[in-house]
Amino acid sequence: MNILKKIDTFSANSLKILENDLEEFKNKYIYNLFINKKDKRADLGQKFHNLICAYLKGFDVSKIMLELNEQEKNIWQNLKTILNDNKDNFIKCEYSFLIKEDLNNKNYFLTGRFDAIYKENDEYIIYDWKTLNLPKNPADDLQSVVYLYCANKIFNTTTIKMRYLSIEKLNFVDVLFSDTQIYKNRIDNIIKKLH
């Protein structure tokens, strides 16, 4: 069976799985053999994502943030300072994208969502909020690869960086755009596993 016929759209997450384990990929994305699990950390992450986005959009969040507990409120106060410092450079948040790619005369698509986009001078900064820990090898992380590759297609520039920011620790790490072809090769090679 040509799996590409069934699955032609990939996210950074699904590519990660495909890169590591073809079987796991098939089970999850083709046969849907997985059980939805909701954990507290993901919930908290989602809460902050929504709160940040509402704040960045300029909504009055003083009421909704009351849902947070004391500890979370502290985190939010600190986070808000950072967001405020950078406010003028904010462009948009929760931006979904769809990119069409060629591979041996066939198409596949990359999809994902930027948590927030900032622009400092000419440089686009793609923010990704992490609840606690930052990626260990961010430059090598498939999320960086896919996001930077796509951002390049979207903004038509190589002056892009990806910034992972830990909500709880407030530290961050940046990955600078390197090379389209390297990104493309890595992604193509993963997808070739399905051919």
Binding site: N32, I35, N36, I64, L66, L98, K100
Partner: protein, 1265 residues
């Protein structure tokens, strides 16, 4: 841009092309809004954009269904909503955009606080309110608009309904929990508050949009640069029904539309369908054909065989669709059994109908309620085998042990398994300890993680498990700890998956789609072959009206000041026209399938078949021509008007009535009379079915059969058709109370009033009498206060539970006709001729109905035989009415009896003479005459036999039968008895003497499907009891399924069959198969048993009836085991839930020489030899002096406006006794034996009794012969 084009054009492609042009111009996708009809259309739209767009960045697509748009918009702008809500306590960073299961739960809680006193449908109140709420919102009705509609509909509960809806709304705000309808409110609030960012708007299927969408479009219109709209001007199938509204888009945009037509001929045909239905004309098209059947299983079999032919010819499954409004268990099970793949788009499936989910939920129940001592062993077996993967034999041993322990000590299941050394148990206990206090979602997740292997084979189950989990997460988010795990499981079990429109539906290419018409249209699902099923069922035209809502009037566009029957009919017709127009465009070859009966054996009526005509429609099957006798000929010379036919027993009345209907159908008698204008009323359901079968056999291709039913069937149609029930204040899901339910309600009432429990039957008939009296004479004062208390309590109970009884059926239909001139006119126009059988048994109300219905054309034929009126003393039948009718109509007499031998004939005529001599008015003066050369001539064919002892009488009969059988092995015998309870006694006696019998009774257990399914169920629930296993072998041997070896094998068993390893024994395999086939649903289990043992068409229909009975009972019982006990408990009842079995040609009936039944039941039957034993004075008295009136008979008189005196009553009863024996006598073709003994055993004691006067009365004449 406006494109007016039907769904079979490339309309959507044109829109997509425009969309891509915009992208190519550099417009950002996030500034282009696309609104499509549903998530499937959304997917298709996106796929096409993906396909045709250039490589590189496509952008941030904003393609939504309207609900999806609302959903996303709320999430993105939630803070604005939260800031406008007053309360500070429940604030949320993001709202709970929940599914219907959550909002249904909230609504349920709100209703509890509001008093809908007197509202008759507690069961569907929730549904009613949800529907009302959704109509108000989809139509964007303002308070004033709603008020206007409340007035038009003269609604009784609008205040309560509004109160409930308001409460619900407040509660959803408090919980920040909004389902898709509620989201529309929030969305409206938001888009009015925010700036529109969409420069371009695409709208496909724009004829399906609701006023809620229109309001949004109006709001953003000033800021939108360009609209692109695709629609079909002919209108949507949802128009005026599910909230869709007709919009003049040319006016809306001030722009000319483009019209696109592809496949001109098809489009023209589709338009012809639309127009002809609107004009009430029939249409015939080459690519629409029809197939009609009597029973639904025959219809489904044919569908499957047609599918097989297509697939064998290389047609792909995806090119076929099955379209029906009735996607019930029977259809599903029958289709799935066929081996083809089906995809049911109409998912009215409850979660626990999935076996795996069912067992998982059961395990969760056990985990959350360890104190439950009532765990069903059957369920436990399923959990052990299906979830814990335990060995099957081991499981059964464990279950037996558990049962014993539980019965003695009430053992806790976890205590029980603790001591068992099975790894699965150890694991379960470990996990149980870990999760017992966790949330339900955690518990569920852990169970799946630990016990379910995620494999491809169960991917569909896993999809459903994820849906379940999603629901639970939703619940837990909204309610936190307010709802206990057990409560939550209960709510989930009863939630229907499909309610949420955002849920995705996959259409698999290798399967045949089964769907409602609406879904096919929603999905624009094109297939080469469309099979339209159940086309003569009213559900095709089902209107959406209830006591708390009216889908027509609650449309935004409703502008009339009233709502009449005519509106309902016209609007329904118009919607049907649009639906069929749209369906036609989506198919190439269309076949309409219909069956006279639905899967519950109820008559279908009033479907869409009436709009189509077909070539060579009426073909008659060559049948042996019948030459009517002279006395019969006159009936056939009928030319219209009132006619009464007095037909004696054995005069061939049914045959002549068939010929008459035949003649009417051929148009020889009356002009302009079609099938639908002919109404035949029979006394018994079985007679109606029989009549239909015979017409069907003669006209196999007749599109529509004449209306042949009992008066109750006709009454039900009048109440149901065109939503007439709403005029009676009834809810659409009203049910007719059955015997079992009625008994239980009466029991409760009688107990609470301190009346003796053995009085139930008495009160039962008193209620019926009183109701009929009320109908005849209007309100009057009943003298018996206690009875009135019972009566009122009973009526209240019915009302509370949305039930009506059999008497109500007639009363209410009469009421409808009398009080609503429009309804009366509707039926009077249809009923061009009405033929009534057994007119002597007709009740006052029935006669009233007949004269009303036939009131316009006045072609009424009533057939009967006053001499055979044998129901007047215990039903409401009114023979006087027939006598009256005979006087006022042309009377035809069929006095030739070709059945009975001359001696028997004389005996019957002598009974009349004897009665006259005794000065009774039991009979008419009709004297039966033989037909020359037909009747057996034997003057000595009647024997009167008297015995001293009971034993002598039985011996005589047995010897006589044996003797006759020796010379005439094919002879048939009828043993006719006075009462039901004697049947079993005689059955036993014959069995002891190796004479095969057939008990002719309507009891459930008399049906072989019921009997055998019940036995196997009992075996499954108790395989340890060898007696049951043995009984099964014996029963199935007698039925002809197994040979005698199976009986021998079963009889030799010394331990339960599952412990054996007798691999050569078929019986062994079959029993173990059922034992280990764990079906969560009892419907599936019964269906499987039935389909295994029964293959002929009649039985197959009864399988679905038995399965339905079992399923209905299971809803009221806690456990599988209780359900089975209940099935056994009701075995002697005549029906359950008014489900009537199809007559069987049961093998045991065919093989039996002797049929045993009551005298009453024998009417219509005939036998070579007839025995009427036990003719004592107690059983059949003819002497008014000696007759002792029963207290019960006196009691019933008190319910009458004009009670009879005791003398009158006695006389009536004795007269009926005359007719009863007359009926018995006239069953005999050759010989008749009347007998009696002087000593009978009653309840274990010998009692002396006198023989009935009949021996003297008739003896006189017989001696003379």
């Amino acid at each position: 841009m406006i494109i007016n084009a039907a769904s079979n054009t490339n309309r959507t492609d044109i829109l997509i092309n425009e969309y891509l042009k915009l992208l190519n111009k550099g417009i950002e996708a996030e500034n282009i809004l696309v609104i499509v009809q549903n998530s499937k259309k959304k997917k298709e739209f996106i796929e096409k954009i993906k396909k045709y767009s250039k490589t590189g960045n496509i952008g941030c697509l904003k393609i939504f269904s309207f609900y999806g748009l609302a959903y996303n918009y709320i999430l993105e702008n939630w803070a604005l909503v939260e800031n406008s809500i007053q309360d500070d306590i429940n604030r949320k960073i993001s709202p709970n955009l929940c599914g219907m299961e959550v909002s249904q739960y909230i609504f349920k809680e709100c209703i509890k606080e509001i008093d809908f006193s007197g509202y008759n449908s507690k069961t569907s109140l929730l549904h009613q309110l949800l529907r009302r709420n959704s109509l108000i919102n989809l139509n964007n009705l303002s308070k004033e608009e709603l008020k206007k509609r409340v007035d038009i509909l003269n609604e009784s509960y609008s205040q309560e309904a509004n109160q409930a809806i308001n409460k619900y709304k407040l509660k959803t705000i408090e919980k920040r929990a909004f389902d898709y309808i509620r989201q529309l409110n929030i969305f409206e609030f938001l888009y009015k508050k925010t700036k529109n960012s969409f420069e371009y708007v695409f709208l496909d299927d724009a004829d399906e949009i609701t006023p809620a969408v229109v309001a949004f479009l109006e709001e953003i219109k000033p800021t939108v640069k360009e609209f692109f709209i695709g629609y079909d001007k002919q209108g949507s199938s949802r128009l005026g029904y599910l909230g869709a509204i007709n919009i003049d888009f040319e006016k809306f945009l001030n722009e000319k539309e483009q019209i696109i037509i592809s496949n001109e001929e098809k489009f023209k045909n589709a338009q012809n369908i639309l127009n002809s239905i609107r004009k009430n004309e029939e249409i015939g098209l080459d690519n629409i054909t029809s197939k009609t059947f009597l029973k639904r299983n025959e219809m489904i079999d044919e569908v499957l065989s047609d599918i097989k032919i297509l697939i064998n010819n290389g047609i792909k499954p995806s090119e076929i669709s099955i379209i029906t409004p009735i996607s019930d268990e029977f259809l599903k099970t029958s289709l799935l059994k066929s081996g083809f793949e089906f995809n049911f788009l109409t998912k009215n499936e409850k979660l626990n109908q999935n076996k795996l989910i069912g067992y998982i939920l059961e395990l969760l129940k056990i985990i959350n309620d360890t104190q439950n001592k009532d765990i069903s062993p059957y369920i436990l077996k399923g959990i052990f085998i299906e979830l814990l993967n335990l060995d099957k034999k081991e499981t059964l041993k464990l279950i037996q042990e558990y049962k014993l322990k539980r019965d003695f000590k009430g053992s806790n299941i976890f205590d029980f398994i603790k001591n068992k050394n099975f790894s699965a148990f150890i694991k379960l206990i470990e996990i149980y300890e870990e999760i017992r206090f966790e949330k339900l979602s955690t518990q569920l997740y852990e169970i799946i993680k630990n016990f379910i292997k995620l494999e491809k084979e169960i991917s569909k189950d896993i999809y459903k498990i994820n849906q379940l989990l999603k629901q639970i997460y939703g619940f837990e988010e909204v309610f936190n700890d307010e709802v206990s795990n057990l409560e939550l499981i209960n709510q989930l079990e009863n939630t229907i998956i499909s309610e949420n429109p955002l849920s995705d539906e996959e259409i698999d290419e290798n399967s045949i789609v089964v769907s409602s018409a609406q879904k096919i249209i929603d999905y624009s699902h094109k297939t080469k072959y469309q099979f339209l099923l159940d086309v003569n069922n009213e559900n095709w035209l089902k209107q959406d009206i209830g006591p708390l809502y009216n889908a027509w009037v609650m449309q935004k566009s409703w502008n009339k000041d009233s709502f009449e029957l005519e509106d309902n009919i016209e609007l329904t017709k118009d919607r049907t026209a649009r639906t069929l127009y749209k369906l036609y465009l989506l198919g190439d070859e269309i076949t309409l399938y219909s069956s006279a009966y639905d899967s519950l054996g109820m008559e279908n009526f009033s479907g869409i078949d009436k709009y189509f005509k077909f070539k060579n429609e009426i073909k008659t099957k060559e049948q042996k021509p019948i030459t009517p006798r002279k006395d019969q000929e006159e009936v056939l010379n009928y030319k219209g008007g009132l006619m009464s036919v007095s037909a004696t027993a054995g005069s061939g009345k049914t045959t002549i009535m068939l010929l008459l209907v035949d003649k009417i159908l051929s148009g020889e008698i009356l002009d302009g009379v079609e099938s639908k204008n002919i109404f035949v009323l029979t006394f018994m359901e079985s007679a109606a079915r029989n009549f239909k079968e015979r017409i069907k056999a003669k006209y196999p291709d007749l599109k529509e059969l004449p209306n042949i039913s009992t008066i109750h069937g006709l009454a039900l149609r009048i109440i149901k058709e065109n939503n007439n029930y709403s005029r009676l204040g009834l809810d659409f899901d009203f049910e007719i109370i059955d015997e079992i339910k009625r008994t239980s309600i009466l029991n409760e009432i009688i107990y609470s009033l301190g009346i003796q429990s053995d009085k139930i039957d008495l009160y039962d008939s008193a209620i019926s009498t009183y109701k009929n009296e009320l109908a005849n004479y209007g309100e009057f004062d009943c003298q018996n206060r206690l009875f009135l208390n019972v009566f009122n309590a009973y009526q209240n109970k019915l009302k509370e539970q949305n039930l009506i009884d059999y008497d109500d059926l007639l009363l209410l239909s009469l009421k409808l006709l009398k009080e609503n001139p429009d309804i009366l006119e509707y039926y009077q126009n249809i009923v061009k001729i009405i033929i009534e059988d057994e007119a002597q048994d007709s009740s006052f109300i029935q006669q009233n109905l007949i004269s009303l219905l036939g009131g316009k054309y006045k072609n009424i034929i009533r057939c009967g035989d006053i001499n055979q009126a044998i129901t007047s003393t215990f039903t409401n039948s009114d023979v006087k009415g027939f006598r009256e009718f005979m006087k006022n109509s042309k009377n035809v007499v069929m006095d030739r009896c070709q059945r009975c031998s001359t001696g028997v004939l004389d005996c019957a005529n002598n009974t009349v003479k004897w009665s006259n001599k005794e000065k009774y008015e039991a009979f008419s003066d009709l004297i039966m005459k033989p037909v020359d050369g037909v009747n057996l001539v034997d003057k000595n064919s009647v024997k009167l036999e008297l015995f001293k002892e009971e034993k002598e009488e039985t011996n005589f009969i047995i010897n006589e039968i044996k003797k006759i059988l020796k010379n005439d092995p094919k002879a048939t015998f009828g043993v006719l008895l006075r009462s039901n309870f004697a049947i079993n006694k005689w059955d036993k006696i014959f069995k002891e003497n190796s004479i095969k019998t057939y008990k002719n009774s309507d009891s459930l257990i008399n049906n072989p499907v019921y009997r055998i399914c019940l036995l196997i169920l009992e075996f499954i629930s108790n395989p340890y009891e060898l007696k049951i296993t043995k009984e099964i072998a014996q029963e199935l041997f007698e039925f002809g399924y197994y040979d005698y070896d199976a009986v021998k094998y079963a009889n030799n068993l010394s331990e339960p069959i599952f412990l054996k390893e007798d691999f050569e024994e078929q019986f062994y395999w079959d029993m173990n198969y059922f034992l280990f086939k764990n079906h969560y649903s009892i419907y599936d289990l019964v269906y499987e048993i039935g389909a295994f043992y029964f293959s002929n068409s009649i039985h197959k229909d009864n399988i679905s009836l038995v399965a339905t009975i079992a399923q209905k009972i299971s809803l009221t019982q806690k456990t599988f085991e209780n359900t089975i006990s209940k099935l056994r408990e009701i075995q002697f009842k005549n029906n359950f839930s008014n489900i009537k079995f199809f007559a069987t040609n049961d093998n045991s009936k065919k093989n039996a020489a002797v049929q045993i039944m009551t005298l009453h039941k024998s009417k219509g039957d005939e036998f070579d030899y007839v025995f009427i034993p036990e003719l004592s004075q107690d059983n059949l008295c003819f002497n008014i002096e000696k007759y002792k009136l029963k207290e019960n008979s006196k009691f019933i008189q008190k319910m009458k406006k004009y009670p009879k005196t005791e003398e009158e009553l006695k006389k009536e009863i004795i007269e009926e006794n005359y007719r009863l024996i007359y009926v018995g006598i006239t069953r005999a073709k050759k010989y008749l034996y009347l007998s009696c003994a002087n000593n009978y055993k009653y309840f274990g004691k010998m009692r002396e009794t006198n023989e009935s006067e009949i021996f003297e009365g008739l003896g006189e004449y017989i001696e003379k012969n």
